[in-house]
């Protein structure tokens, strides 16, 4: 059959695809030399890549339940690693993370440690065991391990809250990029982004998402690394930035000492457009307390190990062994981008603030900066702003503001790279946001269609009907996400961090203890999920509405409160209620050894 052949030919297929993409970049570069407008190049990059993903989505259409929910469980280790990396690295990683590091330096680098360290927990505590379980969704594991519709339903609630918070941020990111690249208003661009996301996932479910995610990973990693290496060489910082930027990091520290961090008055800040920020913290020195750094890292790590759209990627590997190795490959592919983000932040910051560089703007007169082309473009997009607060006519460090998303998207242009690179970066950001949104929308709609509709409401539903329900839900959730994204309640990075905290509050301990503690039972798990989610959310609302919080736990780390409540209530309630029956204990024993049939297949 073609399918079997397709799996064997994966390296060749994606090799040709990568080559084709590189040729496309070169053609665009030639077109730029020949006088093609910047706008047209941007449109070509975004439209061409999105069409390719849609084509892959259409080719992967399926009418089989196994293919729709878990890609037929035949995705090879390395390719699943790439797909997971794309699934994982969202608009937040691609567009916003380097920005966060640019503004806040060391304190925000806790995200790098948190978003990678979590994979150690995934590999050692969860992924291989959930693969052995043989479930379709994460609530499927909770529902079967603990037994009862209430546990299953609670898991769906936590999953929906966490994933939905996350997906609005991703649709926001696709909207931002589409609106900049295609030059359409944000409110419309959000729905253009949504349409592209649905094209990839609707017809083929997990199978389509898997193969588009691999394609998206290739685009996003090229789009991230190429500019980093190029800018580094151009600035004379070295051809391999990761090992050669020590002098630049030291130079930034020197300049920061020279300029100082002047605090703007509230009245001055009120004139800055919403969402823009200036550099307020030192770049490389330890400027956060250990607790602020560690609590953020801990939340991101535990959140990683509880986010269903990541976990379900490991349901698609052929075996337990490959699931385990696949986690390692995922992290390797993520590492390639994450280790480059601080380098990009360094290069971006230096090229803007160093007065001795031709690109530096600090110390120039305000009128001079206002006349720069790229400043005008990004100012128009509401992502860049300068103002002469002290009235001395020159631009100071504290008078320059940027949107977090602009750091990655605008740096190539600021550093004077050809526009083709900016187009490439836009395509990469689009790929990152789309791939994550695909995974998330699918995680929510799969949970609703499989766990709520099929397992609870209508267990007799035939395959065709189940898949129709799944697709209708997919579209509905996508639209709901886009509608909320258009409201722009919270920035991209902020919403993503919240999603991790929600997932950690409700799911981390019920998942881990389901494998590692036989005594855990259904009432305990339900208490853990619901009380964890409720207490975390209550703490978030309290802090957001002006509450002082305690133990230095902020609105970005409220998962610590939720998870602690979840752990305690789960243990206490489990111990005061009856132990799980023998069949459940046997099920846990079976999960713990790789050999034999999956647990669900034995039932």
């Amino acid at each position: 059959m073609i399918k079997g052949k397709f799996i064997d030919n994966l390296p060749k297929v994606y090799g040709i695809y990568t080559g084709g993409f590189l040729v496309f970049i070169i053609l665009m570069a030639i077109a730029e030399q020949a006088g093609m407008s910047a706008k047209l190049i941007g449109i070509f990059f975004v439209a061409f890549t999105v069409l390719i993903y849609a084509l892959i989505g259409w080719l992967s259409r399926t009418l089989q339940v196994d293919a729709y929910y878990v890609a037929g469980r035949q995705v090879p280790t390395v390719f699943n690693g790439m797909a997971t990396a794309a699934d994982w690295m969202s608009g937040a990683s691609f567009v916003a993370m380097a920005g966060g590091i640019y503004f806040k330096g060391y304190g925000y680098m806790a995200l790098l440690v948190g978003w990678t360290g979590g994979y150690v927990l995934v590999a050692s505590l969860l992924a291989p065991y959930l693969r052995k379980f043989g479930c379709y969704t994460v609530p499927d594991f909770i529902g079967t391990r603990y037994g009862g519709n209430l546990a299953r339903f609670s898991a769906v609630i936590v999953l929906t809250v966490a994933s939905f918070t996350y997906v609005t941020a991703q649709i926001n990111a696709t909207g931002t990029i589409a609106s900049v690249a295609l030059d359409i208003p944000f409110g419309i661009a959000v729905y253009v982004g949504l349409a592209s996301i649905l094209m990839c996932s609707m017809l083929g479910g997990m199978r389509a998402v898997t193969w588009t995610q691999v394609a998206q990973y290739i685009v996003l990693i090229i789009a991230y690394l190429l500019p980093v290496f190029w800018i580094s060489s151009k600035l004379g910082a070295g051809f391999f930035p990761h090992f050669m930027l020590a002098d630049e990091v030291a130079r930034i520290a020197e300049l920061e000492g020279q300029f100082g961090f002047v605090k703007n008055s509230a009245a001055d800040l009120a004139t800055v457009p919403k969402g823009l920020a200036g550099i307020t913290k030192a770049h490389s020195s330890v400027n956060a307390t250990p607790w602020a750094f560690i609590s953020l890292a801990v939340c991101m790590m535990a959140g990683t190990a509880s986010l269903p759209h990541v976990m379900m990627r490991y349901f698609t590997t052929p075996s337990v062994r490959t699931a385990r190795r696949s986690v390692g490959w995922s992290l390797f592919f993520i590492f390639l981008l994450y280790s480059s983000a601080p380098m990009l932040a360094t290069l971006s910051k230096l090229s803007l603030i160093d007065p001795t560089l031709p690109t530096g703007i600090i110390g120039k007169t305000i009128a001079e900066v206002q006349a720069i082309d790229w400043y005008q473009n990004w100012n128009q997009a509401n992502l860049m702003f300068i103002s002469d607060f002290n009235g001395n006519g020159t631009l100071e460090l504290n008078e320059f503001f940027m949107g977090g998303k602009a750091v990655v998207l605008a740096t190539p242009e600021i550093a004077g790279l050809p526009y083709v690179i900016s187009g490439l970066v836009a395509a990469g950001g689009m790929a990152a946001a789309m791939s994550t949104a695909d995974g998330l929308v699918l995680a929510i709609s799969n949970a609703l269609s499989h766990d709520i509709y099929y397992k609870i409401i209508n267990p007799k539903a035939e395959t065709a009907k189940r898949l129709i329900v799944a697709r209708v839900l997919l579209v509905l959730i996508g639209f709901a996400g886009a509608t909320i994204a258009a409201l722009e309640i919270q920035g991209i990075l902020g919403s993503v961090i919240w999603a991790f905290d929600f997932a950690m509050s409700g799911l981390f301990f019920p998942l881990v203890l389901g494998v590692w503690w036989k005594r855990a039972n259904a009432p305990g798990a339900v208490a853990g999920m619901l009380l964890g989610l409720i207490s975390g959310t209550a703490y978030l609302i309290w802090v957001r509405s002006g509450g002082s919080g305690f133990l230095g736990i902020t609105q970005l780390t409220f998962g610590i409160v939720g998870a602690a409540v979840s752990l305690v209530s789960m243990i206490v309630v489990s111990l005061i209620t009856a132990a799980p029956d023998a069949a459940t204990q046997k099920m846990v024993d079976d999960v713990r050894i790789p050999s034999g049939k999956t647990v669900l297949a034995q039932k």
Binding site: A246, D247, F293, R325, I593, P594
Partner: protein, 88 residues
């Protein structure tokens, strides 16, 4: 002790070792972030804490997962619990 209990005990010990290494490089060293930053050990010229957050810890996690996977496969093989053709 049954074969399965022995297997689980070894698996659990491996988990503890893995989590201990994970703890050191994700949490432990950052308790001493300010002290380490002043250190004269400067990988590739970067300040030490800065280097760990942007490269060191990340690379160690990648290696740790592959090492863990290899060890776990050995444990599974030892007790004959590895998957065979036709499983799953």
């Amino acid at each position: 002790m049954s074969k399965q209990e022995q297997h689980w005990e070894k698996t659990r010990n491996l988990l503890f070792i893995t989590l201990a290494i994970w703890f050191v490089f994700s949490i432990g060293i950052f308790l001493f972030g300010a002290e380490m930053q002043e250190s004269n050990i400067r990988p590739f010229g970067y300040p030490l804490t800065y280097w760990f957050t942007c490269q060191g810890s990340l690379a160690i996690f990648v290696i740790l997962i592959f090492w863990f996977a290899g060890r776990q496969e050995k444990i599974d093989d030892e007790f004959g619990f590895s998957e065979r053709e036709g499983d799953q």
